[in-house]
C-alpha cells in the first residue's frame, strides 16, 4: 500500500527538541509529506505528526530514531491501513456574486462551513482525509480560490493503541 505513513511523536515543549526531531528527519533524508504540531492535554507536551512518503519499515525506523531524542516521550509509526488521518483546510474564495448560491451547495455537499465573510471574500473550512480535502478544494476551484491554508494531517491509530508517555519530564521546564 502506498500513501503517506503517519509517525506520531509526543514531544516536550522546547524548541530545541522540536528542532532536533525535525532535524533528524532532514538528516536521514526522509521524504516528508506533511508536519503538524499542536498541544496535548498534558501540560508541556506537544504532539508532532509527521506524514512520511515511505514504507512501514522506514517509518518504523524513523520512530526508533526519534525515540532516542532527549525530550521525546514517545514516538510510533502507525502501520499502513491502521491510521485514521485527518487534516483541516481553510480556503479563501472570491466567488462571482451570481454563483454564491452554488458555492453554498458545494459547501454543504462536503460538510464544510463558511467561517468568515466579508465584502466579496469568504473563507470556507473543511476537514477530512487528505483525499477528501483535495477533492473538495478541486470542487471549489471554480469559485476563484484566493489562498488555501492546510494544517497537515494529524493521525491516531485505530483500535485501542495509544502513545504511552513516560511520566517523568526529561528536560527541565524552561530549557530551550
Amino acid at each position: 500500500m502506498s500513501g503517506p505513513r503517519a509517525v506520531t511523536v509526543l514531544i516536550e515543549d522546547h524548541l530545541i527538541t522540536l528542532s532536533r526531531a525535525v532535524g533528524l528527519i532532514r538528516r536521514r533524508n526522509l521524504p516528508v509529506h506533511s508536519l503538524a504540531v499542536g498541544p496535548t492535554d498534558a501540560p508541556g507536551v506537544s504532539r508532532l505528526t509527521i506524514m512520511l512518503q515511505s514504507d512501514d519499515a522506514t517509518a518504523g525506523r524513523a520512530a526508533q530514531h526519534l525515540q532516542k531524542i532527549i525530550g521525546v516521550r514517545d514516538a510510533t509509526a502507525i502501520p499502513a491501513g491502521d491510521a485514521v488521518a485527518r487534516e483541516i483546510a481553510l480556503v479563501k474564495l472570491r466567488p462571482p456574486p451570481e454563483r454564491y448560491a452554488e458555492l453554498l451547495d458545494v459547501v454543504q455537499l462536503y460538510h464544510a462551513a463558511v467561517v468568515d465573510e466579508s465584502a466579496d471574500v469568504v473563507i470556507v473550512e473543511l476537514t477530512g482525509s487528505e483525499a477528501f480535502v483535495l477533492s473538495c478544494i478541486r470542487a471549489l476551484e471554480r469559485f476563484h480560490i484566493v489562498e488555501v491554508a492546510r494544517s497537515g494531517a494529524v493521525a491516531l491509530e485505530s483500535g485501542a493503541a495509544e502513545l504511552r508517555m513516560s511520566t517523568q519530564p526529561q528536560l527541565e521546564a524552561g530549557a530551550t
Binding site: G23, R61, Q67, E172, A175
Partner: protein, 562 residues
Amino acid sequence: MTETLTGSQILCRVLLEQGVDVLFGYPGGAIMPFYHALPEYPALRHVLVRHEQAAAHAADGYARATGRAGVCVATSGPGATNLVTGIATAHMDSTPVVAITGQVPRAMMGRDAFQETDIIGITQPITKHSVLVDDVDRLAGAVREALAIAVEGRPGPVLVDIPKDVQQAKTEWRDQHAARQPAPRPGGVPGPLADAVRLLAEAERPLIMAGHGIILSGAYEELRALAERTGIPVITTLLGISGFPESHPLHLGMPGMHGEVHVNRAIQQADLILGIGLRFDDRVTGNLAGFARHAKVIHVELDPSEVGKNVAIDVGLVGDARDILRALLDDVAPRDCKAWRAQIADFMRPRQESFREDLSPGAILGAIDRAAEGRCTIVSDVGQHQMWVAKLFPYRRPNTHLTSGGLGTMGFAVPAAMGAALARPDEPVWAISGDGGFQMNMQEIATMVQEGIPVKMAVFNNGYLGMVRQWQQFFHGRRYSATPIWSPDYVRLAEAYGIFGRRVERGDEVGDAVRAAIAHPGPALVEFLIEQEANVFPMIPPGASLSEPIEGEPTEPRLVPA
C-alpha cells in the same frame, strides 16, 4: 548549609561532585567568569590546550580510556566552533564527551553579538543532547544531567552552553550530592534469545563479529567464553579491536575495506553471523548487496534503531552486550566448528607488503610492544598507518586501541593520546600518526610540555598523505595531486619544544629508539622514515563487495567507479 555562589562556582562544584577531575580547555571572553572561579577549585585540573579541537579530542581520549565522561571547555564563537570536529568524532564513535561553552550574555543573544554563534544549532546533528542554560538556578541540574546523559545507554557527546551573565549570576547553593545518576543500561534479555541459541547450534559456518559495544559494555570475558564454548571464530571491527585477544587462536582479524582476505572470505562463506555491538558500517560490509549472502544474521545491539538499519537481520537482541552474552552463555551448548575453522585457515594468504630493511610497520609496532612489555595503549590517527596499527599490533588487554573510526578524523591521535595518558598514568600511551595527521595537531606538544603529559609520539613519515595517495595510485591513474607533503625536521622540532626526539631510518635502529623514548620520562617523538609508496593490502575498492579484494600492486591503474 546554604551559601551564595556564582554560576561559575556552582559549575565547578557540580563537576567535582560528579567525579570530574580533569578539564581540557581554552579561555576567552564569554567563559572568563568560569576561569575566574576555577583557581578556587584546585582539585579540578585544567589542561590548557593549544587549539580547542584538541580539547575535544583529549576529552574523547580520556572518555575512551576510562568509560567516564571527558569534559572540554571553550569560549563562545570561534572557541565553540573549534570544538565541532571533536564533538562529531565523539558522536560517530559513541563516546561520552561533555562540552561546556561560554555564550554571550542573555541580553545580547540573537543579535549577532561579538563572538556569538548558535553552537547549539551548529552541533545539533552531532550531539546526543544539548542545552542552553538560561537561568543560574537550572545550572547545577543541567550539568548533572549532561554528565549523566553522555554516559548512559549508548554514550555520546552533550553540549552545555552557558551565557556569560549566567556564569556570573549569584544564587543560593545547597550541597546536595548527585541528584542525577545515569540511568542503568536496560537490564533483562529480550524475547528471541531461544531463536539465537537455535541458530548458533544449527549453523555450520558461524562467525562472531564484535564491535565497539564489547568495549563499551566491558563484555570481554563473556565474548571470550562464548567463543571458547562454541569454537566460533571472532572478527573484531576497527573499534572492536582489543575487545578480544589479538593472538587468541579463535581470532581472525579485522573485516571490511582493509580486512585480511581470509576474514572477508569467511564472512562471504558464513551461514551465520552473530554481530555484537556494531553497526554494520559500510567500511565493514562493502557493497551491501554482496555482503554475506549466505548468512543469517543475529544482531546484539543496545540501540534498537541500529538493528536492521544497514543489514537485514534474522534475530535482533536489543540490550547490553554483556547481559545478552551472559544469557546466551547460559543456554548455548558446547561445540567446536573445527571443519569450518580449517576451511578459513585455507583462505589465509601471505601479506603482500614491501618495506625497506625491516623498517616495516609490523617491525615498529612489534618493537613498541616489546619495549612496553605488553603494557601500553595505542592511539592511532587516520590513514594507512591506522590500518597497519589496527592489524599488526598484538593487543593483549581490553580497550588498548583507540582510534577515530566513524568520522576518520586526521589529527585525532596526538590530542586523544593526551587524554588517554592522563587516564592511564601507569603505562606508556603511544600516539601513532602519519606525517599528514601529525601536522594537524602537533601544536599540542606544547600542551604536553606545559602540563607534563608524557605522550610517546610515533610519526610514520612517508612523505605523502599516504592513504589518499594509495587511492590515487589505484583509482586515479597515479596522479598524485596534492598528496606529497613536506615535513619539518621532527628531531629539531622536538628540540625546539625541549622534548626527546629521534629519527629512525633503518630497521636496526627501531628497537633502541623506541626503548629510549619510553625510558625518557616526558613526552617523546620518534619519526620513522618508512617506505614512501607502500600500500595497505588487501583493499576492497569503494563500492565493491567483500569478494573483490585488490591483493597486490595493481598492474594497470583502475579508474574510480563513477
